[in-house]
Every structure is written in structure tokens, then in C-alpha cells.
């Protein structure tokens, strides 16, 4: 079973990389760009047929390693 995990910086955490990308796009003439935040994306294939059990395992992976909960939020979706 495959899942995707999207990791984003929490709203109050500064995102200097995102700011630089945003500024560069502005410099390239993308005037309508309002705001840009950079994040991370994982694709996880897991040996488990029960969806809710698999979901719990992916959540555990997020909390224990993939995500630093002080500064990041995550979102799991089945793919």
C-alpha cells in the first residue's frame, strides 16, 4: 500500500529558502506571486493490506523520524 507524506513548516516558522525562491520568481517577472513556502514530500510503500493499520504505521514514522513536530506539520494521503 502506498502513501504520500507532505511535510510543511508551521505557519510561524521562518522559511528563508522559500523566501529566496519567492524573491527569485518575483525577479523573473512572476508579479502575481503572493506567497511561497517550501516543504518536503515522501512516498512510502508499506507491506500492510489493512488501510487503517497502514495509516497508523506511516503516522508513527512521521512522528518518530520524518517530521520535527516543533517546526513542521505533516499530511498523509493514500496513493
Amino acid at each position: 500500500m502506498k502513501f504520500s507524506v507532505k511535510v510543511t513548516l508551521k505557519k510561524d516558522v521562518l522559511d528563508p529558502q522559500g523566501k529566496v525562491v519567492q524573491q527569485t520568481l518575483h525577479n523573473m517577472g512572476m508579479d502575481t506571486l503572493n506567497n511561497l513556502r517550501q516543504g518536503k514530500y515522501f512516498e512510502i510503500d508499506i507491506n500492510e493490506n489493512n488501510e487503517s493499520k497502514a495509516q497508523i504505521k506511516v503516522e508513527d514514522m512521521c512522528k518518530k523520524l520524518l517530521v520535527n513536530l516543533i517546526i513542521e506539520d505533516f499530511e498523509i494521503s493514500k496513493i
Binding site: 528563508p16 529558502q17 520524518l66 516543533i70 517546526i71
Partner: protein
């Protein structure tokens, strides 16, 4: 005094710390990250470097290594633990120290000498320094921008859990001499019991007057008291 230095793939300050400790006659052992037990230690040092190539987040993978389980147990029993640079990042990833080290504010890797001021000397790591002393240390990091919740920041200030803050050569602490954007110019923090210190500057690079200056020597000497 018995010390152990934890070595990860990608550690690069481990031998410098060993030289600093041996200069002060610590009985030191190097401990590989795959080991599952620690030698008898009064001090554990987690050195700087780029453990596991800084993959995922700096220190995140090292924080889950075999030996760190032992370090966490020993630290919770009161053993002295010093994390320098990547070692500080690893300690925050284990949860032994609260907060996180974000990318430097200006997005540049910083490798230079900076000044720090001793804010609190009433602890095992800084008792050989005077309060408000200005020290020259070296920094070399990409993620040294200390961030934590406003509640925890308040606690760090109120309970004297900040030993060092970045300053200028006169000891003035302001945003202009904050190299990486750290909250309140924080260069290092303690846990509540003050047996665990995490700091971004490298005291082990300042142990010889001829080569670089020796402002770091008293940090290791303090531990002997």
C-alpha cells in the same frame, strides 16, 4: 575524569575534542555509533561534523542511532553531556534539549571566529569563566539559528539556562552581531538540570594560544572541578 566521544559517519570534530580533553588529562574513549553500550563516563561529548551527511534534517538520523539510546539513559541519570555544533543539533533531535536549529537566517554556511558573552557561570561547564566575560570562539555551521516556543524561551532566560550569547568584541549583544538569527542571540543552552549543554560555537578549536587562542580551554577545565 572519564570521558566518551561519540563518533558517527561524518563526524569531523571528534579528534579535536579528544586532543582538548587529553590536554587536560581526561581519560578519554572514542565510541562508535553502532556500539550498544557506553564505557563508564563522567562526561559524554557529541562532536560536530555532518553526521549522515545532514540527510533529512541535521542530526535527525544520528539521534536514532544505537548508542544514542544509551546516551539518553545516561544523561537522564545525570551524566554530563556536551553537544557541540552538530552535537547540539543531535541533542535537540533526541529531545534531551528543547528547541530546534534552523537554517542560518542569511542562508549562508558560516565559518568564522565570533565573540560570545558568558551569561551564566553557575554550572558545571562554565565555572572557570567570569560572568560577562567576552570569549572568542569559532563557528562553522549552516543550521545554527536556534528557535523554540516563546514559553520555553522565557524559561531559558528566567532560569539562567543560557550560558553563552553572541556579542561583539566589547560584549554588546544585539542583532548586528547575531551571526545566524538565533532567538535572543543564543549560542548555547542547558536542560533544566544543567547537566546537558548544547552549543553551536567550537570551544575545542580554541585550546592553544599559539594556533588560535585558548578561550575554550576553561570550558573543559571547568568540568574537572
Amino acid at each position: 575524569m572519564n570521558s566518551s566521544i561519540i563518533v558517527f559517519p561524518g563526524s569531523n570534530c571528534d579528534r579535536d575534542i579528544a586532543i582538548a580533553l587529553e590536554k587536560l588529562h581526561f581519560k578519554n574513549k572514542m565510541v562508535w555509533h553502532k556500539d550498544t553500550s557506553l564505557p563508564k563516563s563522567d562526561l559524554i561529548v557529541i562532536p560536530g561534523g555532518f553526521s549522515y551527511g545532514d540527510y533529512l534534517r541535521s542530526g535527525a538520523v544520528a539521534a536514532k542511532s544505537n548508542i544514542l539510546n544509551e546516551v539518553i539513559k545516561t544523561a537522564n541519570d545525570g551524566c554530563l553531556v556536551l553537544g557541540i555544533c552538530n552535537g547540539f543539533q543531535i541533542l535537540t533531535e533526541t529531545g534531551l534539549l528543547k528547541g530546534v536549529l534552523l537554517r542560518n537566517k542569511n542562508l549562508k554556511f558560516l565559518g568564522k571566529d565570533v565573540y560570545v558573552k558568558t551569561i551564566n557561570t553557575d554550572n558545571k561547564f562554565c565555572n572557570k569563566y567570569k560572568k560577562d566575560q567576552v570569549l572568542k570562539f569559532n563557528i562553522a555551521h549552516n543550521e545554527g539559528n536556534y528557535f523554540t516556543s516563546s514559553d520555553h524561551l522565557e524559561k531559558l532566560e528566567d532560569k539562567n539556562l543560557i550560558p553563552f550569547k553572541y556579542c561583539d568584541d566589547k560584549g554588546n549583544i544585539n542583532t548586528e552581531n547575531n551571526p545566524n538569527g538565533s532567538l535572543n542571540n543564543i549560542a548555547g543552552i542547558f536542560n533544566d538540570k544543567k547537566n546537558i549543554l548544547g552549543m553551536m560555537p567550537h570551544p575545542e578549536r580554541m585550546i592553544d594560544q599559539v594556533i588560535s587562542g585558548d578561550d575554550g580551554l576553561n570550558l573543559f577545565a571547568s568540568l574537572l572541578d
